[in-house]
């Protein structure tokens, strides 16, 4: 699964974009990346590095946060997509799963999933089938399907958000921190789903992830962002072997995994203040 050979051409290309929030806060300072069709591309980086911002720039959700792409271009299948509305982009097959869940609180879990199929024109039966598919992925959702999403647990909301994106049968999914708040075995499961959907249906993934360990096991290619710039990129295997990545992102030292108890012995540089 680590071979990037099934990358038959670039689907999405981000060229040197710059993003400013509120007209004054410069967040991305020239980010470029390309997402191959049918690949799983990971976007890594610490808190505030700009992963979410990059994804939102692509899905055009920035505008609703008073953010703006001021330079550079975003090209999807050869078309500039910066000026499309998010809905148009979804219709073209790009769906984003937003960070922090963003379920429709007052809708039930099932209604949430069904809104995912909003743009679909196919039959009720097809939609029903996909709904069942989501329920088989996440049995927990099936149990809670009649509850208002606002009253479900954090993890259940996360599953709902992912399930909802799957329901729109997209060509490309932008996943923002899918593993956040999920129990370990579910994290694995989510990435298995990513893998299945990717390999089985050829869906392309761009995922921002903090859990570098898992992300690099499932992704083909990775970019590492730091304070709004791409500082490193390479195939997942290369990244995993890189000593810096090992130390800072995987928590491994030469002696194997560091214990969280021992971290007190040294202080790191404070990168988030950069």
């Amino acid at each position: 699964m680590l071979n990037a050979t099934n990358a038959n051409g670039t689907l999405l290309e981000v060229n040197n974009i710059e993003v400013i929030y509120n007209h004054v806060i410069l967040v991305l300072k020239g980010v470029s990346l390309s997402v191959p069709k049918g690949g799983v591309t990971a976007l890594l980086g610490g808190n505030g590095a700009g992963k979410t911002t990059t994804l939102k720039a692509i899905s055009n959700l920035l505008k609703s946060e008073r953010g703006e792409v001021t330079k550079g271009s975003i090209v999807y299948r050869g078309d500039r997509v910066q000026d499309l509305s998010p809905a148009d982009l979804v219709r073209r097959g790009v769906v984003q799963v937003m960070e922090g869940r963003h379920c429709f609180e007052h809708l039930t879990v099932e209604e949430n999933l069904l809104t995912g199929a909003y743009i679909r024109r196919d039959s009720k039966a097809d939609i029903r089938r996909d709904l069942d598919m989501v329920y088989t992925y996440f049995p927990r959702l099936k149990e809670r399907r009649k509850s208002q999403a606002g009253y479900t647990s954090g993890g259940e909301q996360q599953m709902t958000a992912i399930g909802r994106a799957l329901m729109s049968r997209p060509e490309t999914i932008l996943l923002d921190e899918p593993s956040m708040g999920l129990a370990p075995q579910l994290v694995e499961q989510i990435f298995e789903i990513v893998k299945n959907v990717n390999e089985g249906e050829g869906v392309t993934f761009l995922l921002a992830e903090q859990n570098t360990n898992v992300a690099l096991r499932y992704a083909h290619y990775g970019y590492i962002l730091e304070s709004g710039r791409v500082v490193m990129d390479g195939s997942a295997r290369d990244l995993r072997e890189n000593p810096d990545v090992k130390e800072f992102y995987l928590g491994m030292s030469d002696k194997g995994r560091n214990s969280f108890r021992d971290v007190r012995s040294y202080r790191r540089r404070k990168r988030w203040l950069a």
């Binding site: 609703s64 946060e65 998010p86 982009l89 979804v90 429709f104 007052h106 909003y118 009253y151």
Partner: protein, 328 residues
């Protein structure tokens, strides 16, 4: 004294009918709130604007005549033809739809994902704007609106009840028409919002603009759609109220009668608007009937709100409103 019972019954019936009239206005609020979480302050002005436009078209008035005359020294007033009511209503509905599209395009589009109070404020700006525009377009003198709706006491009911009880009940025929129309509207809108894909999308948008965008719901379409429907509902309300009192500025103040209804029924419930209307209408009339004389009358305005308040203390989201989700 059985007379009091009959009176009270008559008051109750008429209260229910008034409630329907309030509900007609409240419906517009509900639609927009449900679809975007916007508390649309401009709803009353929308009703006024619709009614003004309708009358203006029916009379063949030249829009902005006064302005044009002032600028160019002309003396335009009327085109000199009259437009039949039905056609005028259709044209007005078209105007309201156009207005909805413009509102979406020049106001709402730029305010995606803002807090409710900001959106509320924007509708206030809109209310000011439309109030000025409506007056500038059609003039602020009083206009008679007559599209041939029946008015006045329904004599059949009066004589039948007179035969039965020895006391003839008063029911206004206009109210009967309003009730039928309101029932149809509520039915249609409930079906629309409960059983259609768009209906679900509406509720999704109200919950979270961004998430709705992210699943491909076009806020622009939804908003234009809902505002058009709300505009048409405003037209209906404008017609019913305008037939009674003529069309002029005060028509926009009927919104104030709709607010307690809204609060009681729940901001998000279409059936709530009608049930709320019935309770408020009946409650305020009965209170005025029994208690009003003791305290000097004119209690309706505040009592409607107090009644709604009492309900809210027990159900903070109104009778049928969506539960307010409180979690950490």
């Amino acid at each position: 004294m059985p007379d009091t019972v009959y009176y009270a019954l008559e008051v109750t019936l008429n209260g229910l009918m008034s409630g329907v009239m309030y509900a007609l206005v409240a419906l517009g609020f509900v639609l927009i709130f449900k679809a975007s979480g916007i508390f649309n302050y401009a709803q009353g002005v929308l009703a006024l604007f619709a009614a003004l436009t309708l009358v203006g078209i029916m009379d063949g008035q030249v829009p902005f005549a006064h302005l044009i005359n002032a600028l160019f020294g002309t003396s335009l007033h009327h085109f000199g033809f009259k437009v039949p009511a039905l056609i005028a209503i259709l044209i007005t509905a078209g105007v309201m739809t156009l207005l909805a599209v413009l509102v979406e395009r020049y106001v709402l589009k730029h305010l995606v994902n803002q807090e409710p109070i900001i959106l509320f404020m924007a509708t206030i700006g809109l209310a000011y704007f439309l109030e000025g525009l409506g007056d500038a377009m059609w003039g602020s003198d009083i206009k008679t609106l007559d599209i041939g709706l029946p008015k006045g006491i329904d004599e059949t009911i009066e004589s039948v009840t007179n035969d039965w009880f020895g006391y003839g009940f008063f029911i206004d025929r206009l109210d009967i028409v309003a009730t039928v129309i309101a029932a149809l509207l509520v039915l249609a809108l409930t079906v629309f919002s409960q059983y259609s894909k768009q209906g679900r999308a509406l509720r999704a948008v109200a919950d979270d603009h961004q998430a709705a965008l992210s699943v491909g719901i076009s806020l622009r379409f939804i908003w234009a759609l809902v505002w058009s429907i709300a505009g048409v509902v405003a037209l209906v309300a404008g017609i019913m109220w305008g037939s009674k009192s003529g069309v002029q500025f005060s028509l926009s103040l009927i919104a104030l009668k709709a607010l307690p209804v809204l609060m009681l029924g729940g901001f998000t419930s279409i059936p709530g608007a009608i049930v709320g209307g019935l309770i408020i209408g009946m409650g305020e009339k009965l209170f005025e009937f029994f208690v009003g004389p003791l305290v000097g009358g004119a209690t309706e305005n505040w009592f409607a709100y107090v009644l709604a308040l009492v309900f809210l203390v027990f159900r903070p989201q109104g009778l049928f409103g969506e539960r307010i989700i409180e979690r950490v």
